[in-house]
Assembly symmetry: C2
Homo-oligomer: 434 residues x 2
């Protein structure tokens, strides 16, 4: 590693992943007596909460991504390497990567989560996940390609399959995607495809449990459902996917829907690197950590964010897989690492719940903050403000704001482009999931 | 074709290509008694003059592209099909396409131009062209990937090959690309890669003729060269590429440069569909047309823009391959088509030269308008204004303006992201050239 040229005698903290947790951790270690080495397979940070707007043509991909090197510009104890981690070898205190072996004094796993197909190869092959920017661009291309194809399809069942959308999972991602596609249909597609009868396009949201937005208040859950139904989404709760062969989805209520568009947002699992013993993996594929984010059995390997499960009284299965939890753990771990290096006692992590929110469409959002709940127009503005302020980079905020204002007044989406046509058959592991 | 459902008894004008010419032609045919059917392999119009800013991280791809369907929203005699044309069959008045056969009454070839490697398979395989959005995104990814790789490369020759850039062709594209990469090096890379010695990065611009910007005034040619040299670009005129094997380029002056980054902007050729007789193809692979843009030997097949060569007194080899020429031909042909349909005499095309310009970098541009020539800051503002106003769509103008203002004050580029890693070996015909 060249990076060692610029190494001082400071201990090296290697951070795998430039998500919300990894970034906060690295920032907090600025000016501290450590060398920080961050690895990520992308050279940018992804603002995942807005991926659904990239997928549905509302935002350009570049405005929700930010170059990792730029975040740490001028931070002299920080190094970045664009690399893929292959495995952790704790015995030798090294990780094996696509650019060679890298040694660590302290290792932090901040790899986040990936789509969970619950072991189904069929679902993994035929449905569309949306956890990365390339995936959301594939989704955008597929939606638009299927609409184009529906124009020249004569067979009524195949045509209907091209026009039907099934979104699985009633969490924030599923709800936001379903709402966004419903608005696309209502305001944009009608004008873009005057030849199509928009009544032939159906949007289904399928959720296994009895409610949408599980962890939110009853009030917000009911409003979300109402908002979606106002937009014409067919909401099917208490319903699961039984099978899907790429043309027809079968649901647990025996309903069959011809569809080429199944968007999979029904589950996530921790993205655990090889080398972490299997017995440390708990529910949701997360790594069990103690109250200091330390992985059981190691005193120099930590995990934060979505990939970590810290069992506490309030959160026996770990904290929610949301950005604020990852950010707080990153900041907290930075302080603890310095304490550990200085042989002081680390402090246990305490999660401050900042509330949760989801947007369904124009003027339609739901917000829970502690005991305060509100829905509708004001909630929608709050949602936009919070997301805008959470974006990294002034340019990104400006570009997203311009797009939102423009869309608000024009009822339009700016970026419905098939930049790279999606072709399921030519997808490789490399292009599909990264 | 479903499209025939909405057909009236109007004659059908089929337009191949949604570039500057095709768009103007279709717009001018609005409210006329014809059915317009446009085909394009992309669902968007590309503003090619700004591709180099996408390639060098200054603009998001989506801001220089515009959905074709949206341009013609509400134009009731217009249909769009996202399809690839395979061949023209004039005997039967049909074209064969990826979505089946389509019949025409009048056919307009507005396919533009593609990169000309002058028959060299080696150059086609190893150098990077930049005529489409996917190509400019590949170029962006390649530049950034090679920089990342140079950080971990120990062999000095291989490292130097990763850092050296050779741009071929001293036309506007080559000049703008070279200037843009030089500014990237000067203002951005120095901060992003503090580990790299920026003196190791060399940028060469290689041009076969004795001057840059061939068709422009001597004054502008000399200023362009001076501006580039001020930015540190090594300008080699009277120099051609002898060979390139992917690692080392050999020039006609016997100079050898180790480089993995060869950007090919040394030539274009008309993109002629199959079925046009070979004897109609002239210099630059363009189709010979008469003064009414009619292809010799046909009274119902026309060609406009880059792909057409109309020999006139002032332009014996055809008009310059620039947007204004294509736009003027498109508008003119619309009027002539109506005349022809009404059995009136068509009028010969007359090109109005609006001048030419090129930008080298911040505050550095050259402009020729008739006898008026100016260079420097004012020229740069004129260049920006003209390009901004030529972009299709208010949202695009706004987003580009925001990016330009932000870059002006921050000396930064917003979008240096490797969204889809470039991998030469896995490139197929499909992903590489479209």
């Amino acid at each position: 590693m060249n990076s060692q040229d610029s190494t001082t005698n400071f201990p090296r903290v290697v951070i795998i992943g430039g998500g919300f947790g990894g970034i906060q951790l690295s920032k907090k270690l600025r000016d501290k007596e450590v060398q920080v080495l961050m690895l990520d397979r992308h050279n940018y940070h992804t603002f995942q909460p807005l991926l659904y707007q990239v997928a549905t043509g509302g935002l350009e991909a570049d405005s929700i991504a930010f170059p990792l090197r730029k975040i740490f510009k001028g931070q002299s104890n920080f190094l970045f390497r664009n690399a893929e981690v292959q495995s952790i070898i704790p015995e030798r205190k090294v990780i094996s990567t696509s650019i060679g072996e890298i040694s660590y004094d302290y290792l932090v796993v901040a790899t986040g989560s990936d789509t969970n197909f619950f072991g189904s190869k069929e679902l993994e092959h035929y449905t569309m996940p949306m956890k990365t920017i390339p995936e959301s661009l594939n989704l955008r291309s597929m939606i638009l390609q299927n609409l184009e194809e529906s124009l020249i399809e004569k067979d009524p069942i195949r045509k209907s399959a091209l026009l039907n959308f099934v979104i699985t999972g009633g969490g924030p991602t599923g709800v936001e995607l379903a709402g966004s596609i419903a608005e696309l249909k209502r305001h944009v597609l009608k004008k873009d495809y005057p030849e199509l009868d928009m009544n032939e396009m159906n949007i289904y949201l399928v959720e296994g449990s009895p409610v949408l937005l599980g962890p939110m208040s009853k009030q917000s859950q009911e409003h979300a459902r109402k908002f979606l139904e106002e937009l014409g989404v067919i909401v099917l709760t208490d319903t699961r996917v039984s099978s899907y062969d790429g043309d027809k989805i079968v649901l647990s209520n025996n309903q069959e829907i011809a569809t080429k568009n199944v968007l999979w947002s029904a589950g996530v699992k921790g993205e655990v690197p090889e080398g972490i013993p299997m017995d440390r993996i708990v529910r949701g594929g997360r790594i069990k950590v103690d109250h200091f984010n330390r992985i059981d059995g190691y005193d120099d390997i930590f995990a934060i964010g979505d990939v970590a499960a810290m069992s506490t009284e309030d959160y026996p299965n770990g904290h929610p897989g949301v950005a604020p939890a990852a950010m707080q753990q990153g900041q907290h771990l930075a302080n603890n690492l310095i304490k550990i290096i200085n042989k002081e006692e680390p402090e246990p992590f305490k999660y401050k719940d900042k509330g949760s929110m989801a947007t369904i469409g124009r003027n339609r959002a739901v917000v829970d903050v502690g005991k305060i709940r509100f829905q509708g127009v004001f909630a929608w503005f709050v949602w936009m403000f919070v997301h805008l302020m959470s974006l990294v980079g002034f340019r990104n905020r400006l570009v997203v704001l311009v797009n939102w204002i423009w869309s608000y007044f024009s009822y339009d989406r700016g970026t419905r482009l098939i930049i790279r046509p999606f072709n399921r058959e030519s997808m490789t592991e490399d292009t599909a999931n990264k």
